[in-house]
Amino acid sequence: MNSDTSPRWADRLGTGSRTFLIVTTIIFGLFAVGMVAGFSYAVLQDGKLPTKPLVWFVFAAMIALVAFVGWVLLSLFRSIHRERMSGFDRRYWRMWAIVFGLSVPLGAALVGLGIDDPGAGFSMMLSNTPIAPITAILVSIVVSVLLIASLVIYFRTIDDHEERAYLWGSNVAFHFVALAFPLYWLLARGGLLPHITIGIALLIILLSCIVQAIVWALFKFR
């Protein structure tokens, strides 16, 4: 047809599959970039190159993963850009770009900066270590505003079908939480589980988010 070299696999995917693939590859890409950055930082701190072949193999694998992620993303975006997108698709992709454009840099900044303890990173975020009141207030406001803004943008963009998928996912996730907490409480009283802590509570909420995502995907892509 023309000099187009974009792989055919990217052209055959629908909007949902591309979204899923882009989100997944971005997550893997961030992981790989983090590994490469961590390795480089460690080498710089240590002042000498590692001698074990396995270390170099893992490093090379991470570099290859970054390159692969870049290739997948490039292929997907070229495929999306080339084909004629409907008005809905354009709004849908713009919505995801805005949501990720707002949330990913914030999350990366919070984790990377470790809030009040630069370098502590992810462990700091998930610990109960005290933080400055002003930090707590600012982060709470920013996270709340971003979440609400993202949901408003999301619901103004999606169609009936996806709205139904989201609402069913939320419904099942709510019942998961409504069941999980009393069950955990009963089992803890029976001595079968440790007493509930904020960490366990957050873990249950995280599990409910995973349940929500699974049900959403089932209704959206089945």
Binding site: G16, G87, D89, D159, H161
Partner: protein, 69 residues
């Protein structure tokens, strides 16, 4: 869950449209069109009216009540 049957796939095929093209005409996702055609999703009333307007037919001519057949 969906009791409705519909002629969306037939009407789309008559016009030679792909699911993506029909989705573009209806301003919805391709997954929505696929889910309606396969009977996994009953469209909302506004979307059903939009489908009817697009094909120049009444809702009842496109969406059939499975309970009556």
């Amino acid at each position: 869950m969906a009791d409705l049957e519909n002629r969306l796939r037939i009407l789309r095929a008559e016009r030679g449209w792909s699911q993506a093209e029909l989705a573009g005409h209806l301003d919805v996702s391709r997954q929505a069109v696929n889910a309606i055609e396969t009977g996994k999703y009953d469209p909302s009333l506004p979307l059903a009216f939009k489908v009817a307007r697009l094909f120049g037919q009444s809702i009842e001519q496109i969406f059939l009540d499975g309970a009556e057949s």
